[in-house]
């Protein structure tokens, strides 16, 4: 018998962890009339951002997932926003690289750590009253103190694992099969408060979450338990450095109200609000540093 067979098709794998990539630029402004255009590139472990600053003001950004190599991630992030607003690389006067891949941004004029850049970015986004910054990044977490200019005065980073970070939240999202943007709101859709999972280690929390599901927890309760654990972990980091008024959260997790509101409750302080995407703080700070450096360079050239 001559029958035609078709290979079984694998079920479509849905990527629940995949967060929204964003491109935006300010259509009310014309970068072509600007004196100085600078760019900050933040190549993080999970996401990469390119931010354009025009005469010291935020003009546009592109936020996307980091690829498998830093130079390509930096190039792609910048290309994404330049294509949108019709800019070419030679139109940019100064580029600052930051994040884990900062030394691998091939077209950067300078590399500055993400700690300094997040503080500077938060200062722009939240104003000069920002004093304590919590950067909840893809694979680490930083508590930063800064002065009224956004200069770092002290900082602490988490330990050597991805516990309590964006990557951990991505894992839970996939495990629960719930889109990552829904985790925060759903963590409040529960009958009563739940205890934190005892571990925020990505691996152990996954096992514990499965155990809770088997024990009859709803998905929302499991998510709430994980958000609570994450909040408790970062609060312990913040308390080691001390929290001052003017509290600001940057990084992808700042978009998750399930974690943010729990942090605020534990600290008894409300985080400052911003209309700017919290995930671009590092690249924004880098672009602003670029603006200062380019301005000084131009002033020195004019004086010579």
């Amino acid at each position: 018998m001559n029958t035609e067979t078709t290979a079984p098709t694998a079920p479509e794998k849905k990527e629940f962890w995949r967060w929204q990539e964003n491109v935006w630029f300010d259509e009310t402004k014309d970068w072509k009339t600007a004196k100085i255009v600078t760019c900050g590139i933040d190549v993080g472990s999970v996401s990469s951002q390119a931010v354009l600053v025009v005469d010291g003001e935020l003009y546009g950004f592109n936020s996307m997932r980091t690829g498998n190599n830093s130079p390509d991630s930096a190039t792609n992030a910048l290309a994404g926003i330049m294509d949108k607003c019709g800019m070419k690389q030679e139109d940019i006067h100064f580029v600052v690289g930051t994040g884990y891949g900062r030394v691998n941004v091939p077209f950067a004029d300078k590399a500055i750590t993400e700690i300094a850049c997040h503080a500077r970015g938060a200062n722009y986004m939240g104003g000069n009253g920002v004093r304590t910054i919590l950067d909840m990044g893809g694979q680490d977490c930083k508590a930063i103190h800064c002065d009224e200019k956004g200069k770092v005065t002290n900082f602490l980073m988490n330990d050597k694992c991805a516990a309590g970070t964006g990557r951990g939240m991505e894992v839970i999202s996939d495990l629960m099969q719930i889109p990552i943007a829904e985790l925060g709101p759903r963590s409040f859709d529960i009958d009563s408060d739940v205890e934190a999972v005892s571990s925020v280690c990505v691996v152990f929390a996954k096992s514990e979450a499965l155990g809770l599901l088997k024990a009859g927890y709803t998905k929302n309760k499991v998510i709430a338990a994980y958000c609570q654990a994450m909040a408790e972990r970062v609060v312990s980091l913040l308390e080691r450095i001390g929290v001052e008024e003017g509290f600001f959260i940057t990084g992808g997790i700042a978009k998750n109200p399930g974690v943010v509101k729990r942090i605020e409750k534990l600290l008894g302080i409300k985080a400052m609000e911003t209309k700017v995407d919290s995930q671009i703080a590092g690249a924004l700070g880098a672009a602003l540093f670029g603006y200062t450096l380019a301005s000084k360079k131009a002033a020195a050239a004019a004086a010579a």
Binding site: A116, D140, K151, N154, F155, M157, K160, T292, K296
Partner: protein
């Protein structure tokens, strides 16, 4: 550096087990694994032995768990691993002079479970060296160690032999200090990595050979030009540190390590013995007088002013605490020592060390710390 001035020290460090085996083959002497820099090496040297300090290998290991708690410090665990993995199979003896209780467990497990150990000796040095009874007690313990070694070797350790050994060790201390003096200068002629290679190798190379090498280096230093930017001048503080990859990273991002308070560095050699008619007293007192490890620094905390003094003397702009995870004595000192330094204008950074260290994340911390001190006008 390109001039290769410190290559011999680096080579000794990287091939330290080969060195010890070779020393044994050419001298016929015994090698003794020593634990803790409070060990009176003078007695071992006088007995014709080579003291070789046990260091870790900074590699993941899975052999210590049955013998020592996981919450004992990485140096304890790594040191024990080296014994259990028979990396010191050339050492007949092992000796510990009392310092911390965690390292005591390393010693106990080592002497019970490392099959190549033929003899062991524990010197119960007083921890409260400030007590009026400490010197007398330590004198007696050093004398007992001498008696033990005489019985072991079947040979008398005469005062003359001890004086000769003490002179060699004191010369090594003097030469190392002379080398470290060059680090006081602006744009030092010696990097932190090079200084560490020199001081750590003194802990396992024959002192006579080490002294000759130090003399050669010291003769060449006056005309040496490193042609590297000095950057921020750092001090390092902690227990043992021979993580050269970490040191090299720190010095590659805009800084120079100009001084330390660590037992792999200054605490090992900073003071010489004082002249005494009684050589045992000269040896014993020297260890009571040396810059204190936190285990031996009470009730008065002499370390705080000593560390601050070093920072000022060597013009360190800032200090990095290299805290071995779970090292209780150093962690206990940390809050007050940090405050003491910061109150006196020396900012600090805390890094927690493990058997292996994450160089990438540490680099971010070091660079961010440097940025907080940068004069560059980013604002």
């Amino acid at each position: 550096m390109a001039d290769g001035l410190f290559d011999q020290f680096q080579n000794w460090y990287e091939k330290r087990h080969d060195y010890a085996r070779d020393w044994k083959a050419r001298t016929g002497g015994q090698v003794v694994a020593t634990m803790c820099t409070y060990t009176a090496e003078e007695l071992l040297i006088a007995a014709g032995m080579l003291p070789v300090r046990v260091l870790g290998a900074h590699e993941p290991q899975n052999v210590t768990e049955p013998h020592i708690f996981g919450m004992f410090c990485p140096f304890c665990r790594d040191s024990l691993a080296q014994g259990l993995l028979e990396r010191f199979d050339y050492a007949e003896g092992v000796t510990l002079t009392q310092s911390c209780i965690q390292y005591r467990q390393t010693f106990s497990s080592w002497r019970s479970n490392v099959p190549t150990v033929q003899w062991d000796y524990f010197v119960p040095m007083p921890n409260e060296v400030q007590s009026p009874h400490a010197r007398k007690a330590h004198y007696a313990e050093i004398q007992a160690f001498r008696v033990f070694l005489q019985a072991l070797t079947g040979k008398e350790l005469t005062d003359e032999m001890l004086r000769e050994a003490l002179a060699v060790v004191d010369e090594n201390r003097r030469l190392l200090r002379e080398l470290f003096e060059y680090r006081k200068e602006a744009n030092p002629k010696v990097t932190g990595c090079e200084a560490l290679y020199a001081s750590i190798t003194a802990q396992f190379v024959d002192k006579r050979e080490h002294n000759e090498m130090l003399k050669k280096v010291l003769a060449a230093l006056p005309t040496r030009q490193l042609n590297r930017p000095e950057g921020v001048r750092f001090m390092t503080i902690g227990s043992e540190n021979d993580d050269l990859a970490f040191m090299a990273m720190v010095e590659s991002v805009g800084s120079t390590i100009v001084i330390d308070d660590q037992c792999s560095g200054t605490r090992y050699f900073w003071n010489q013995s004082k002249p005494e008619d009684d050589v045992i007293k000269a040896i014993a007192d020297r260890y009571c007088d040396r810059p204190a490890c936190p285990t031996k620094d009470y009730p008065v905390h002499t370390r705080y002013d000593h560390v601050l003094g070093l920072a000022k003397e060597f013009n360190a702009r800032a200090a990095i605490f290299l805290q071995q995870k779970f090292c209780d004595p150093h962690e206990g000192d940390y809050p007050d020592l940090k405050k003491h330094l910061e109150d006196n204008g020396i900012p600090t950074l805390f890094l927690e060390f493990d058997i292996t260290n994450p160089i990438g994340p540490f680099r971010i911390r070091i660079e961010a710390f440097l940025e907080t001190m940068s004069d560059e006008e980013l604002f």
